[in-house]
Symmetry: none
């Protein structure tokens, strides 16, 4: 459904038609950043990956930084748009949280490079300290927090926990699951789609029901 903006991300099968050099460069940058990290990626690597001369990168982007910024802005905004649409929907809070979890983990399976860059290169260190990017990431937390607050107001969710702290935990749980898959820290149960579904279930169940058996008050 709302996956259109995500689906337009680069795929080997869709190598961007000639002439759209700018997109070619961005896609190449995502791949190279994912592979070598921002600092390890040379502008010439990106150009080579895009099949162009590296001087051309500077026609479309002011500098290497702007590449990362652009990736972040364009892709993150597209991603946020989907999240906001989920938030604005008529479903229950539980349903919305499940949708957000599924969106994030699905995005990773479909576009691992995209997610790696986001998580490892942007959600990181000094560049991330820039207020603009912090605010952008804050919008994700606020969106999830709105789901939680709405649930609390409607009585669907308990009110004695801070909505913002709770949503930090929610996003953090998802991020760590992705990280562990990227790095192979742990073997997750199942594989591919199955692992993803199980991860979604676990996070949502945990988040809503907790680990303690229901029998205990």
């Amino acid at each position: 459904m709302a996956r259109a903006p995500v689906a337009q991300l680069p795929t080997k099968a869709d190598p961007a038609p000639r002439g759209r050099k700018r997109e070619r460069i961005l896609d190449a940058a995502i791949r190279v950043f994912a592979r070598r990290g921002y600092h390890g990626a040379r502008v010439s690597d990106i150009a080579a990956e895009a099949g162009i001369a590296y001087g051309l990168v500077y026609h479309y982007f002011k500098n290497k930084d702007e590449l990362l910024d652009t990736i972040f802005e364009e892709r993150w905004n597209a991603f946020l748009a989907v999240v906001e649409r989920i938030v604005a929907g008529p479903e229950s809070s539980a349903e919305k949280l499940r949708a957000v979890a599924a969106l994030i983990l699905f995005a990773y399976r479909r576009h691992p490079d995209w997610v790696k860059v986001l998580v490892f290169e942007i959600g990181r260190s000094s560049r991330f300290s820039e207020p603009e990017q912090i605010r952008a990431v804050g919008r994700l937390f606020q969106a999830v927090a709105r789901i939680v607050r709405a649930g609390q107001e409607s009585g669907e969710l308990r009110e004695d926990l801070d909505a913002e702290l709770a949503c930090l935990a929610f996003i953090g749980a998802l991020e760590t699951m992705i990280t562990s898959q990227v790095l192979g820290v742990m073997q997750l149960p199942g594989a591919g789609e199955d692992a993803e579904a199980e991860a979604v279930r676990t996070v949502v169940e945990l988040f809503l029901g907790g680990l303690a058996p229901r029998g205990r008050p």
Copy 2:
């Protein structure tokens, strides 16, 4: 008690006595890495922070990389030792999880530089891909997973959620809370010790009881 190895971390009030240059360098490196990130930190910055000639760094460490590796190994192992002691204790699973959460968030309040380096410079970026470091981090997850599994076996915790997935979520929640504080993504309720206590409560409550009110199955 078990905080001895942690407590000996640098404090402005304790500028390390003469002769312990190696420690001075490591402490300086932690501070500079925390401030500027690994790539942004020049060896000469670290030497200046330690108040020594930069050549001396190479007397004690093979290269800049080894600085980070050493920090990781020495500090992370000290940290893990405390976690393992918690795991081995006689308390209930809930108590142990609370203790781990408190340990992590307390460590951040007391040694923010240490934690920043760990989370931002080691837990991300390519250097983390090295098997040795992945295994080291894996030990943390395994430790927490053991707490969860023990709880599941004793009936204290529900058994229909995968222990490892659950502990990924648990650690992830804590990491994101720290990150959000470092970057100021969100204003957490309270401040200092209070904020920390509230964060611990939220994560543990969420993890154990979930967001859904107890009344609902």
Copy 3:
């Protein structure tokens, strides 16, 4: 005739036209290596001598080592080609040996820097131990040895001396004459062209006729 490749070596009078930067760099490197030795030559010296930014050196060559290797390969092969042509000619062995001696000593007078680098920086120490370079130098010895062996087979030269040992002596005599001129160890008779001619005569005469007077058996 066959001196084309040699003749294109740098001369102050021929500062190499714009665009042929690679050649400019190699020529500059030869001059600086000759003046200060490989270890004493800074990359920035070479760049300054070539009138370019030192970064450009790395555009054309992988590193400082490759400069020396390239000089060796390109120039040595050009030199060897001339030697091989002499070997293949129809002249007597004595004539060929005289031609080789003249070639070597003439090359030094015309291109002293070239020869200095070859003799002092390449025919030296660790870099010279690389099999590829040893083999390249071996080709010179083999070429001269072929002249000697042919002379022995035709009866022009005596057969009771090993051809390879003999040619080692031949080349060694010439090399030492060059060295003594470079370093001014000894005052050679005559000057410039005359000294060269006398050196050629002495080496060839010695090599063919020996120091002992013909009258003595």
Copy 4:
């Protein structure tokens, strides 16, 4: 006979008794210079080879340069003394030349490290340009030249070749034979002592009798 000064050079079997640190350092330096070249040899390598702390090197020698200079002076002078004794002897010129050739090639077989350092590190490279060292090497040439001149005056050797050029050729032939053995450029006939004897015979025969058969004028 006159080999005493040479024979006192270091041998694995005679590791210099305790206390004679200065000699230990010099011997170690010779070994390390021979193995890695002057530039490639660190002062700490030499100290390690000598089994002492590297600071001690500076008690006995002003700096690294002085090590090489000392090796050169002490060993070269000892070597020269033997040569001068040969020159002063009552033998024929031919006998003396044979003795010099044998001395040089024998020295290499017995003390290859010593010879390598002399030929590769001192006989080349810029340090050799220092007048003092040039003069020292010049003394060897002058000694051999004196043998030749004496032979010419007594009628034992032909007079139409310049004595100094001739002795350059003589020494050069010997040096190249050593070099070719060090580097393995060529397979010499025989092995060890035999190869050496054959080399001596070839150089002396060549030098005295030439390659052309006696029958031809």
